[in-house]
């Protein structure tokens, strides 16, 4: 990364655009958002990731003004937004349920917000046409929402929220109903829009690949709490907990006890009769502390013979092979009963694959390949 990289969160001088201070939202007894403190900076592409019902939509609804925090404050550009009604916030939201106006055509739906701004008529026309082009909806401009497909509706909702060029755009699963190709194109369009207009995006997605592609930072949530906020690569490479490691991508988790073995280096004993595993990890552990080694399948190599230089090597038997086209995932059962996944690129035709079911193989990885996690 170059030095002028966009990372205002590392700049102590930078003022966040959005600041949640100890925000809690309760519905009756149920706590949907639990004492949340986050900062989102201008021009960020902030992705919220988390299991269903963890409070992502609730968080957005508080920003848009449809819910008020039970406790805590939300600041937008330095101002407490509690007293500002939704129609006075420079925030637009794309609803998870789309919320298209059924009595208006696609064109009128997109123009709706612009008309409220008292924009001149032909400017409205231009803007709507631009949005229609962007979302490939030109052909459907005159149709009503019930006359178009689910994916088209989603694009109308996206176009409608983009049309006003808000300072802050909240997208609640904006691309879920699109096919992969259209989704990727739209992702790039969104990034392009952001580049051009400097809009700040907060986006909810269930698609990790999407979060990885578009996000400046990813926030992983669970039960109304933020578990980790970091750049996509850091979330992936150095998750701070077993939960995050498990939630983002595929991971092997090996339980054991840590034994410090020099600075940042540990020997993790994991099973009697097996050599301890060498791990280098920034997280500090005391002697004998319980820990988990999290290691991504693509960082585990698979070979027929024992590699000579590897930091860690274990032997096992291939239980299953998942063929994914470009790569294959090998499920290897260790003598301890644990199953470790290893990924390898399919550089040869499937018929010429080096390993097959029931083969005995060696798995190996370096000391820096995984991270050691407490819980």
């Amino acid at each position: 990364m170059n030095t002028s990289a966009f990372e205002p969160w590392n700049d102590p001088e930078a003022k966040p655009l959005i600041h949640f201070q100890n925000v809690t939202k309760r519905y009756g007894e149920f706590t949907a958002i639990d004492n949340l403190t986050i900062d989102i900076y201008e021009r960020e592409f902030y992705a919220l990731l988390g299991p269903s019902g963890c409070g992502k939509t609730t968080l957005m609804r508080m920003l848009a003004g449809f819910e008020t925090p039970t406790e805590g404050t939300i600041h937008l550009a330095g101002q407490d937004i509690a007293p500002v009604p939704p129609n006075k916030r420079a925030v637009n939201m794309m609803f998870q349920s789309y919320a298209l106006f059924p009595h208006l055509s696609v064109w009128e739906n997109i123009a709706f917000g612009l008309k409220r701004e008292k924009m001149p008529k032909h400017d409205i026309g231009d803007r709507v046409e631009e949005m229609l082009r962007l979302t490939r909806l030109e052909k459907f401009a005159r149709r009503k929402p019930h006359q178009i497909s689910g994916g088209q509706r989603q694009r109308v909702a996206l176009a409608r929220s983009l049309a006003k060029h808000p300072k802050l755009l909240l997208l609640d699963e904006p691309l879920g109903a699109l096919d992969k190709k259209l989704r990727q194109e739209t992702q790039f369009e969104l990034m392009d829009i952001q580049e051009k207009t400097g809009t700040t995006f907060v986006i909810v997605t269930h698609d990790q690949e999407e979060a990885m592609t578009v996000a400046s930072r990813v926030a992983v949530m669970d039960h109304g709490k933020i578990i980790q906020v970091a750049t996509p690569d850091r979330i992936y490479e150095t998750p701070n907990s077993v939960y995050v490691a498990d939630f983002i991508g595929d991971v092997n988790l090996i339980e054991g006890t840590a034994k410090p073995n020099g600075s940042d280096v540990y020997a993790m004993s994991w099973h009697e009769g097996h050599a301890p595993l060498a791990v280098q990890s920034p997280n500090g552990f005391s002697d004998g502390q319980k820990c988990h080694l999290a290691i991504r399948p693509e960082k585990v190599s698979i070979s027929a013979d024992k590699p000579e230089t590897a930091d860690n090597a274990v032997q096992g038997k291939i239980l299953d092979i998942a063929y994914l086209g470009n790569i294959s995932t090998y499920h290897v059962e260790l003598p301890t009963g644990a199953v470790i996944k290893a990924q390898a690129a399919n550089t040869r035709r499937i018929a010429r694959r080096a390993f097959t079911w029931e083969d005995t193989v060696w798995l190996s990885w370096t000391a820096t390949a995984g991270v050691l996690l407490a819980e």
Binding site: A64, P86, N87, V91, A99, S105, G113, R116, R143
Partner: protein
């Protein structure tokens, strides 16, 4: 198409006979030459002519129409607002009580409603006439409107209003531009319901009308007490035809609109 079984055919005939024979008899006898309602003495339209000379009947008809239009419009406005507040107003003190209270007049015997309104009008010294009937009709038909409209509002997707707010509408703009157009069919049926209720109300109108204004149902009722005259048959026939024409027009208009919408959809798809 399947042929109808004889059982279905018979039930259908009986059902319709039950509904329509009284009216058919009434229509036939309105063209009776004789003054005696039950004896047929040849075809004539003279009772229609006489009806047109009868100012009392015409006046009553005019009053009825005025009352129906004003009271149903007023009831629709108030009933819609009430429904909106009760469904959307969020939690406020005594909300359950209020929503219970708005339905109470539906089950209240009309005599009691009429009597209490009469006492009220006398109490505040309001002269009974068109105005008091309009007020009385508004009072009871408003409940019907609010029932119809609130049952629509309950199923109304709240996020549509939120989207309108999000796009810069004030609360009243959101109601006018989004909520109202979508619930319009319910509001219109509420209006029609209130209109019909007002047209055929006898009990409440007789409590709240005065010497200056009588509605048609009151007029007919009091005339019938002196004996059914063929004039009344003629009047009723006219009312039946107006209603029939109204119903047919309404269904034609709806059909036309559906066709138009279909056509637009087709065009939209093609373009």
């Amino acid at each position: 198409m399947n042929r109808m079984s004889w059982f279905n055919a018979v039930s259908l005939t009986l059902g319709f006979a039950f509904l329509y024979i009284p009216m058919v008899i009434l229509v036939i006898f309105s063209f009776n030459e004789s003054k005696l309602v039950t004896v047929w003495a040849g075809f004539s339209t003279k009772w229609y002519g006489e009806l047109l000379q009868n100012d009392a009947f015409l006046n009553a008809a005019w009053v009825t129409l005025k009352v129906a239009v004003f009271s149903s419009t007023l009831a629709t406005v108030l009933g819609t607002i009430a429904a909106y507040v009760l469904v959307r107003g969020g939690r406020f003190m005594g909300r359950t009580l209020f929503s219970g209270m708005i339905y109470a007049p539906l089950v209240m015997p009309e005599v009691i409603t009429g009597l209490s309104l009469l006492l009220l009008f006398i109490g505040i010294g309001l002269d009974r006439g068109v105005f008091t009937i309009v007020l009385a009709h508004t009072t009871f038909s408003m409940c019907y409107v609010s029932v119809v409209v609130s049952s629509r509002l309950v199923t109304f997707d709240r996020s549509l209003e939120e989207a309108a707010l999000d796009l810069g509408c004030s609360a009243s703009e959101a109601f006018r531009l989004v909520t109202l157009p979508i619930i319009a069919p319910a509001v219109i049926s509420g209006w029609l319901l209130a209109f019909t209720l007002s047209l055929d109300d006898l009990v409440i109108a007789s409590f709240t009308s005065g010497p200056s204004a009588t509605t048609l149902p009151i007029k007919i009722f009091s005339a019938v007490r002196l004996g059914v005259s063929p004039e009344i048959n003629a009047l009723s026939t006219i009312m039946i035809s107006i209603v029939t024409v109204g119903v047919i027009t309404a269904s034609l208009v709806t059909k036309h609109q559906v066709a138009k919408q279909k056509r637009e959809e087709m065009e939209a798809v093609r373009s």
